[in-house]
């Protein structure tokens, strides 16, 4: 059973601010969902995590490809606030 304190701990880890109503609602709903997935505890499983389906990552050569300054600018300018080609945020405190 997830308590309000438990929900707040999760919210803090996930960096999501919750309202008081949300704390109550989510505690209840998440408890129910965790209760549902608890059925996995009953199953006998092997210790091995490796799957034998033969799929492998297709890696490319470990080389820098790079992008143009135009592309770079385009990406940086997606930020809500930009100054001197740097992304601007609020101060830490």
């Amino acid at each position: 059973m997830l308590t309000i304190e438990g929900v707040n701990k999760l919210a803090k880890l996930a960096r999501i601010e919750l309202t008081a109503d949300e704390e109550i609602k989510f505690a209840k709903e998440i408890s129910a969902i965790l209760g549902f997935v608890d059925q996995l505890q009953k199953i006998k499983v092997a210790d091995d995590l490796v799957s034998d389906d033969g799929q492998e990552n297709n890696l490319r050569a470990d080389m820098v490809i790079g992008i143009s300054t135009a592309e770079q600018s385009e990406l940086i300018n997606q930020a809500p606030e930009v100054e001197n080609n740097l992304i601007k945020t609020k101060p830490v405190f």
Partner: protein, 494 residues
């Protein structure tokens, strides 16, 4: 010349023989979208660029140039997939004004093949949902009955195809999000094997399960689209290097002697009697066509949903951490410091279902719980994969219902808009809608849903065919033969 419910072949033939111009064709679909605005199946309509492209196609035809595989075919793309220079929102407030700086690989391949993008489809927020009710841009309505859901999360894509707003659409499927809405909307939806289609440019939700695929009017169209989008991609390390066969070539081969398994765990309780009846009829039809049908067993089937609802939240919590208001997307305007940017951006930008899943993911990955939840789920996943591998040694394909019921009413499972109130709605009830589809994602199989009948309210019923990894040819062949012998897929909403 009627533009009504054209298939890819019909469009290509019509354009080539100059039965109609591409501009007229695109205007038809833009008209269809405009007339049916209430369905809310599109978040962005790209009229100007679509017409521009149409003019170029007409010029190409006039100068007798050779036409590409999907030249001039008007399509739609789920708004979870990046389209360069066009808003891509994931149906979330947090990306409401985000303009994608690049095309997803599926998009660039479709563009290279000449397809014309009409717009971006509404979907459940970050693909989290089974009814298209969690979208920040309002729910999508089922074209067969506007008081009902189209299914999800690719609800907008399925509705658009069913309502003749495009020739086909591209959706994504993590736990059934192509197949289930296809079933509820009476269209054909294919989830390729994980790794068959590149995930580059798909806004990642569950990186080990997500897969893009076509939602079409026919199995033949699915095969045509798969031919274009499948294959290795240097931008996606999980895209398989396995050769892409021609998915059209084996389609019309008959299915005499094909071994089809009916997993008994999929035919237990919880299915509506009308769905059960339609599937029974479909099984008989497939036997008439020469296939050998036998019962099989997949004992760990009942645990697939629990495995899914541990793995999905864990990976989604990681994937959605990037939406923090710093580099792109929405940033809270009331944040006074860095920490508040993170906390308030997510509080204001994400909907309730997204928050729920992020927090569950955080829990199952947290110290002290990771072993008991996430690692355990991965071990059970291996059990399930192994079980399917054993069954596919005995049969060539599996046949099941796609969804336990036909389309349910808006608000019936979600309780209130976006599932926000929680009192009348119960997230778990919504999760159960995926019970027949999640196994394919968990076990890395391919799967297709196709129309197999209607209930007494004239709501579509879907049949699901599952295949071993990379056995798309097998399931497409079975699906094609069934579809050729029936005409459920030719029926359309009034």
């Amino acid at each position: 010349m009627s533009f009504s419910y054209l298939t890819i072949s019909q469009v290509k033939t019509g354009l080539k023989h100059k039965d109609f111009s591409c501009v007229d064709l695109v205007n038809y679909y833009l008209g269809q979208i405009s007339k049916q605005r209430d369905l809310n199946s599109f978040i962005t309509v790209m009229s100007a660029s679509a017409l521009d492209q149409a003019k170029k196609v007409d010029q190409k035809i006039a100068s007798r140039q050779e036409l590409d595989k999907l030249e001039g075919v008007p399509i739609a793309i789920k708004d979870l997939i990046l389209t360069k220079g066009v808003k891509t929102t994931a149906s979330s407030k947090i990306l409401a004004n985000y303009v994608a700086p690049y095309d997803a690989t599926v998009v660039s391949r479709l563009k290279e093949a000449g397809a014309i993008i009409l717009g971006k489809n509404n979907c459940d927020e970050f693909a989290m949902g089974s009814s298209n009710e969690t979208s920040a841009f309002g729910p999508v309505l089922n074209p067969w009955d506007n008081s009902r859901v189209p299914g999800g999360s690719s609800g907008g894509s399925a509705a658009a195809v069913a309502a003749d707003e495009c020739v086909f659409a591209i959706g994504t499927d993590t736990g059934g999000s192509i197949r289930q809405p296809a079933a509820l909307c009476g269209v054909t939806g294919l989830k390729p094997t994980y790794g068959r289609v590149s995930r580059y440019g798909l806004i990642a939700m569950t990186s080990s399960l997500d897969q893009a695929g076509p939602i079409t009017r026919s199995v033949e169209d699915s095969a045509m689209v798969l031919n274009v989008i499948a294959g290795q991609d240097n931008y996606d390390a999980t895209a398989s290097a396995k050769r892409v066969e021609n998915y059209l070539s084996a389609l019309s081969q008959n299915i005499k002697g094909l071994k089809v398994g009916l997993p008994k765990e999929y035919f237990a309780e919880g299915i509506s009697s009308e769905v059960a009846a339609a599937i029974s009829q479909a099984i008989k039809k497939i036997e008439d066509l020469g296939a050998r049908v036998e019962e099989v067993s997949l004992p760990h089937t009942s645990f697939a949903l629990a495995v899914y609802y541990v793995i999905l939240p864990a990976e989604a919590a990681s994937n959605l951490a990037r939406f923090d208001g710093i580099r792109y997307g929405f940033r809270s305007e009331v944040a006074r410091n860095l920490s508040e940017i993170y906390h308030k951006t997510k509080a204001e930008g994400f909907g309730p279902e997204v928050k729920r899943r992020i927090m569950i993911g955080t829990y199952v990955l947290s110290a002290g719980y990771q072993e008991a939840y996430y690692l355990r789920a991965k071990k059970v996943q291996n059990l399930i994969k192994h079980e399917y591998a054993e069954v596919f040694k005995k049969v060539d394909a599996l046949l099941t219902p796609t969804s336990p019921t036909t389309a349910f009413k808006l608000g019936e499972k979600s309780g209130s808009p976006r599932g926000a109130a929680g009192e009348a709605g119960d997230p778990l009830t919504m999760y159960l809608a995926d019970v027949f589809t999640v196994s394919a994602n968990i076990a890395g199989l391919c799967g297709i849903s196709l129309p197999a009948g209607f209930d007494k309210n004239n709501l579509p019923i879907g049949l699901q065919i599952l295949g071993a990894p990379f056995a798309e040819s097998q399931i497409l062949r079975l699906a094609y033969n069934y579809q050729e012998a029936t005409d459920w897929h030719k029926k359309h909403p009034v």
